[in-house]
């Protein structure tokens, strides 16, 4: 019987398989950052253990660091201690680290692909749930807890029960006004936050094949938001074109050998999926969330739903609680919702392509009064590339803030936070209560919707923007 793409990658990494036990999988790349690693290194020290494969480990600073005043020490002492702990651990255990100020520093899920370390057919883990981002290259990539970080550091393996296999068939073509972010938000709303639990999902179909690597990363990034263990996409010429020439990509004969292997990484025609889900891309429109989990979303053209419209009592209660927290009234058109802050960035939408789209849209326009736009590149190299293309100037002329690289306002653990009651349109991945700061209210959106919202001051899509004179 044929195998799925994920089964092929899985099988190629089994170190040990024993009846009644999870498989022991070899890990090709372990990414670490300051937040989920200190207790893992402590565990190694206590047991007198070493990092087994520092040559398959990479550390970067991203979660708790500021995106302004980068030349000064981190003002928050607790954050500074955590970052200094990572630096000490990296030095003691011989792990390569890209600290603040380094040209390869950035969000861990932006840095891996940009260095060419993320390649097809790998197993990649990180103490961060958005690790599935790397699945865009046809790898099995997933987030792990700190005990597992310690386990990988010590053994370069993980014990894992094989998840079930799911195919997400994306039929049709995305309309011109819809993006990869809209597609994944619509899929999560369709399948709910628990729909992917227990599965590795493969995103397939013509609409997926036509997406750039950046867009594929946006899709795979949010696999965890509908509960999936991992999400991946079969590699193709788009993948190879993105990889070739990057610092850590194979070269010469190694490249040819790698491509010969990567070409085998497709689900066989007779592969059996445990579940198949279908979404018609041609029906996807700009999509926004109204609630406090990523499954609570609607098309921008819709209104805030009435909790009574949910048949399931648990969903009804969740909707009621969400509307109270979000300060929204059922029936309000989404476009009427005023927004204080727009955040463009994160491992979901902080890559160069996202910034290009945003800059093109905002060029010649101004940020609305009483609204602010924060643009935070996903890595230092993304920032430098954008500056080379003059995107920073476009953002600044429009009245947006141009920041240093990091996780920033995606999560409330660095200085970039919402204040209680403040409402954001955010290109990040989570709208949980307090996610962007205590009491903050988050609407998840695409970069396109983010810019239109920032210009108009309320949730909006590019189609709502007035034509510019002379265009």
């Amino acid at each position: 019987m044929g195998r799925t793409l994920a089964e092929k990658v899985w099988d190629d990494h089994v170190v040990r398989s024993h009846e009644g036990e999870p498989d022991l999988l070899f890990i090709d790349l372990h990414l670490i950052h300051e937040v989920t690693s200190p207790q893992a290194f402590d565990g190694l020290r206590l047991a007198g253990r070493q990092v087994r494969r520092p040559d398959l480990t990479l550390a970067t600073e991203d979660h708790n660091i500021p995106t302004t005043d980068l030349d000064k020490p981190i003002a928050d002492i607790v954050s500074r201690t955590q970052v200094e702990t990572l630096r000490r651990n990296a030095e003691e255990f011989g792990v390569r680290l890209h600290p603040m100020g380094d040209i390869d520093q950035g969000i861990v899920h932006v840095v891996g692909p940009q260095l060419g370390l993320t390649q097809p057919g790998m197993t990649i883990v990180c103490g961060d749930s958005h690790t599935a981002t790397h699945g865009a290259f046809g790898s099995i990539a997933f987030g792990i807890g700190t005990s597992e970080v310690e386990h990988v550091l010590a053994t370069q393996t993980l014990s894992q029960a094989k998840p079930k296999m799911m195919a997400v068939e994306v039929t049709g073509e995305l309309p011109p006004d819809a993006t990869a972010k809209d597609l994944i938000l619509a899929l999560i709303a369709q399948e709910t936050t628990g729909g992917g639990q227990g599965y590795i999902v493969e995103y397939r179909g013509e609409a997926i094949r036509k997406l750039s690597m950046e867009a594929r990363m946006t899709i795979c990034n949010m696999s965890i938001e509908w509960g999936a263990k991992a999400g991946l996409i079969a590699p193709d010429q788009t993948t190879y074109d993105y990889l070739q020439g990057r610092p850590n990509a194979p070269k010469g004969a190694e490249w040819d050998a790698a491509v010969a292997y990567w070409d085998t990484l497709v689900s066989d025609d007779d592969a059996q999926f445990d579940k198949v889900v279908t979404i018609d891309a041609s029906t996807v429109a700009p999509f926004v969330t109204w609630g406090t989990n990523p499954g609570q979303g609607v098309p921008l053209s819709a209104s805030v739903p009435d909790p009574e419209s949910f048949d399931d009592p648990i969903q009804r209660e969740a909707a009621q609680k969400a509307l109270t927290y979000m300060g929204l009234t059922a029936g309000t058109p989404m476009r009427d919702i005023k927004v204080d802050t727009v955040f463009i960035g994160s491992c979901t939408n902080g890559r160069i392509e996202d910034l290009r789209v945003a800059a093109k849209l905002i060029e010649g326009r101004k940020v609305a009064e009483d609204t602010r736009i924060l643009v935070v590149p996903g890595s230092v190299r993304v920032r430098l590339q954008a500056e080379e293309e003059g995107l920073d100037v476009i953002f600044k002329e429009a009245g947006a803030e141009w920041r240093g690289a990091g996780c920033s306002m995606c999560l409330g653990m660095n200085p970039d936070q919402l204040t209680p009651g403040e409402r954001s349109a955010s290109t990040s991945n989570r709208n949980f209560e307090g996610r962007q700061g205590k009491g903050g209210r988050t609407h998840l959106v695409s970069p396109d919707v983010a810019v239109a919202t920032g210009v108009l001051g309320h949730l909006a899509s590019p189609a709502d923007l007035p034509e510019m004179a002379g265009v």
Binding site: L24, Q39, V78, G116, A154, T155, A258, L411, F432
Partner: protein, 199 residues
């Protein structure tokens, strides 16, 4: 890790679905570099409300958390498990757990026991009508029990065999894996040379 065989303790009904790990322990607590001291951050935002159930006696002494579906979604932070344990929780019951949270629980010795949604509903009603009542969770027999007589609640729970064995024995994962060091070395010897390296 301590061995886990059976636990009896005060149950607390948490009538919420999709309790994500940002709610269990907000991000600003994640700057700590130790595994302890997270108890005050547990459900921090909700505990600001005096009516939140964990603020009420005798529920504040609970060690068995009975939660709605999709518990532990979102961020991979194991700090969520540590916060529950630091507060005193030994068991979480839910009809559906997020994968990473379930995995983290097993590694740290918190029992994440999956029960039928109907059992959760009955436990909620029972614990609300009988504040301070206890729930017994037995890992050996995979059963959850509460109440007495005709209204007694007794049902089985689901946990994978391997995690159950490790919890019962209190085994250290890294130690188990390192006993297979030869297998790891053999695998490493056969890896293709085109695979990337960071050094």
């Amino acid at each position: 890790m301590e061995k886990f065989t059976s636990h009896t303790g005060v149950g607390i009904p948490l009538r919420r679905s999709n309790v994500d790990t940002d709610q269990i322990i907000p991000a600003h607590w994640l700057k700590k570099v130790t595994r302890d001291g997270f108890e005050d951050g547990l459900f921090e935002a909700w505990r600001k409300d005096p009516d939140f159930i964990l603020n009420k006696s005798p529920y504040d002494r609970a060690t068995v958390l009975v939660a709605g579906p999709d518990f532990g979604t979102g961020s991979s932070r194991e700090h969520a498990v540590w916060a529950l344990q630091n507060y005193g929780f030994k068991v979480v019951l839910s009809s559906r757990f997020a994968d990473i949270f379930r995995g983290n629980s097993g590694k740290s010795g918190l029992l994440a026991a999956q029960v039928d949604d109907k059992v959760i509903q009955r436990l909620w009603e029972y614990l609300e009508s009988n504040p301070g009542a206890t729930v017994t969770v037995d890992l050996e027999s995979r059963t959850v029990k509460a109440g007495e007589g005709v209204d007694a609640i007794e049902d089985s729970f689901t946990i994978d065999d391997y995690t159950r064995w490790r919890l019962l024995e209190g085994l250290d994962d890294v130690g188990i894996t390192l006993s297979h060091a030869d297998d790891i070395a053999a695998y490493e010897a056969g890896r293709p040379s085109f695979k990337p390296a960071t050094l």
